[in-house]
């Protein structure tokens, strides 16, 4: 009985963490390489979900194909955003804040006007539920877990093992120094934004299957993504794993002991204390 709850909770923690990690991954990537807090990440995530929905449900093509197309389309959107909205303001935090917040408003309004605000859901990518001795996991969550894990691994491998990835790391550590090595910084910024946005699109599509789609679905997820990245520490992609696990653990276990709004408060207090002890986050570089 108790052990059932405990086992289910462990599964909940893992599943929720993978959701969080998937959402925060692209956000962390942009923060690390471009050094910008892309508040619009959650809006891009929402757009990704809607594109996948439109393709899979309205147009009616294969679901995984629409996930892929959504990824590519949002990746291209990322290229556009980087060129027009991010690049001119990379070194000006105030203006980046305003631009990305403006993007949220505009993207939400665009979806609200074009698709409408009726709540939708993308059909399950992996229908069915996996059960073993009192613990159950839905196929979609398992898929998110796997895809989240694979993507995290892929992003880390991409960064560590490819030339482009190495250049991304170099820029994140010293962007002027990187330019002097002949690294085409703008190209790397563009690639990073495209990857970050594509990751958001994957997250949005999967979340559209697990939860639901609405133009405002990103509002809470944005806060979660910021929480994870700050916990992980600015400049750490691998840290997203730990940040996501911590937040997932808090959000999945606290409701068992503390009900309702107090859950939020407890979780936030724990995070604030963690941050005051280590302002740079768990894997951040320096303050």
């Amino acid at each position: 009985m108790i052990s059932d709850v405990a086992a289910q909770t462990v599964v909940n923690v893992l599943m929720l963490s993978s959701i969080y990690i998937l959402v925060a991954l692209g956000f962390a990537l942009l923060l690390t390489v471009l050094g910008i807090l892309n508040f619009a990440h959650a809006a891009i995530y929402m757009v990704g979900g809607y594109i996948c929905y439109q393709l899979a449900v309205v147009v009616g093509i294969n679901q995984w194909a629409s996930l892929l197309i959504s990824m590519i389309a949002v990746g291209l959107l990322g290229l556009f955003l980087e060129r027009v909205f991010f690049r001119p303001f990379l070194k000006d935090m105030n203006r980046i804040v305003v631009v990305t917040l403006a993007l949220i408003i505009i993207l939400q309004a665009t979806i609200n006007v074009t698709v409408g605000s009726y709540i939708r859901r993308i059909p399950s990518f992996v229908p069915g539920v996996l059960r073993f001795s009192g613990v159950s996991v839905s196929g979609d969550r398992l898929a998110t877990f796997v895809i989240g894990g694979v993507l995290l691994l892929a992003v880390i491998l991409f960064i560590r093992k490819t030339k482009t990835g190495l250049q991304m790391l170099a820029i994140s550590q010293d962007s002027d120094g990187a330019a002097l090595q002949g690294i085409k910084t703008h190209r790397i910024f563009a690639v990073t934004t495209a990857i970050g946005c594509a990751l958001a699109a994957v997250a949005g599509s999967l979340m559209g299957a697990i939860l639901s789609l609405s133009p405002f679905m990103g509002d809470i997820m944005l806060v979660k993504a910021i929480e994870i990245v700050i916990l992980a520490g600015i400049g750490s992609i691998g840290g997203v794993l730990i940040g996501g696990l911590i937040l997932g653990a808090l959000d999945a276990t606290l409701p068992l002991f503390i009900s309702g709004s107090a859950t939020d408060l407890t979780g936030l207090c724990i995070i604030i204390i963690l941050l005051l002890i280590r302002p740079q986050g768990l894997f951040g570089r320096e303050v």
Binding site: L37, F39, P88, F89, D92, M93, N94, R95, V97, V98, V99, L101, A102, L103, I105, I106, Q108, A109, N112, V113, D219, V223, I226, E227, I230, I234, G260, S261, A262, D264, L265, L268, C269, I271, I272, L275, L276, P279, Q280, V287
Partner: protein, 340 residues
């Protein structure tokens, strides 16, 4: 010493004073021209948010970009309403109390927050804001939770012998004057502080905390002071808002609201005291004008933000500065001269 006091333009100061006085008189006469209660309401909301945005800028000039300001506004609002509702205290007392309680929490949060600077400060402040809003959700017995708190008493009527009683429920005009006076009062204090030694120390810390502490400026102390002052006026604004609106929901003080306040300041321009005033005025009133666009209305709000960010690097207030520079043909303050 006051910034400007040692500026050589005594003549222009006179013009400035007249311009401000004229503007304030115009604002006082506004109800004579505007008969729509709805527009008055919009102006009142603008005034309230002007106080909040200006107080946010006070924190900002000390180098602290806070993303918790709406939460402090909410704190003042709830404290004031709870004391007025539960203990029947008069709002004249609870409004300052709201300010003080926001200030106290600001100081309590502020001391640990001085450990972190720049973007890390912003991030931790974000969590502090979220935690304050979560706190409101926990004490729903007093705050009403997400559904909201109603039955907040309005401002009590004022009776001055020999004059007709001012009843705040009768129309929005008394409220308009109350908030206009409150705004003028708060802005005067904030302006006075900014242009005093304290304000200079805040700006000094923002420019280089290392140099500031090398000349004996207590970095932590002044940063907390900025938070205290900023939060106090946010609390006042929030408390005033509560007794005007007479209903509160905590969702009005969440992350997005704090971000909205920040947008008012950034769009208006951080470089000038009038930035947040202009920003708030534009961003509250213009979307109201475009209300008829319904679902398309958010494009106006986002559009203004993009326009400002692309064409006005220093915000709308900075635009005036740009225009002025252009008209004065880059007249420099004074060219450097050889020392020896």
């Amino acid at each position: 010493m006051v910034a400007g006091e040692h500026a050589p333009s005594g003549g222009r100061n006179w013009i400035k004073t007249v311009a401000y006085a004229g503007l304030i008189i115009l604002l006082f006469l506004l109800p004579l021209f505007v008969d729509s209660v709805y527009y008055l309401h919009t102006f009142i909301i603008t005034l309230i948010y002007t106080i909040a945005a200006c107080s946010l800028r006070t924190i900002l000039i000390s180098g602290q970009l806070s993303i918790a300001h709406a939460a402090f506004m909410g704190l003042g609002a709830y404290v004031s309403s709870i004391f007025a509702r539960e203990l029947n205290w008069t709002p004249w007392l609870t409004i300052p109390l709201g300010g003080v309680s926001a200030m106290v929490v600001g100081v309590l949060a502020g001391y640990p927050l001085t450990r972190v600077r720049a973007i890390y400060f912003s991030m931790v402040s974000l969590f502090v804001g979220l935690a304050i809003v979560a706190l409101m959700g926990v004490f729903q017995k007093y705050t009403g939770g997400d559904i909201g708190l109603i039955g907040i008493p309005p401002l009590p009527s004022i009776t001055i012998p020999g004059l007709p009683t001012i009843n705040f429920l009768s129309s929005k005009i008394p409220y308009y004057y109350f908030f206009l006076l409150l705004t003028v009062f708060c802005l005067m204090i904030l302006h006075s502080l900014e242009n005093s030694r304290i304000g200079m120390s805040w700006k000094a810390i923002a420019q280089s905390y290392l140099v500031a502490s090398s000349v004996g400026i207590n970095e932590a102390g002044f940063r907390v002071l900025a938070l205290a002052v900023g939060c106090f006026f946010a609390g006042i604004a929030g408390a005033g808002y509560a007794h005007y609106n007479m209903v509160l929901t905590r969702s009005s003080f969440g992350f997005l609201s704090s971000v909205n306040l920040l947008i008012y300041v950034l769009v208006g321009g951080t470089g000038s005291f009038f930035g947040p005033i202009i920003g708030t005025t534009v961003l509250v009133i213009v979307p109201e004008i475009f209300r008829w666009l319904k679902t398309f209305a958010p494009f106006v709000f986002g559009g203004i933000m993009l326009l400002v960010v692309f064409f006005m690097p220093q915000g709308i207030a900075g635009l005036f500065e740009q225009v002025k520079t252009k008209f004065l043909h880059f007249q420099e303050r004074k060219k450097p001269r050889d020392v020896s």
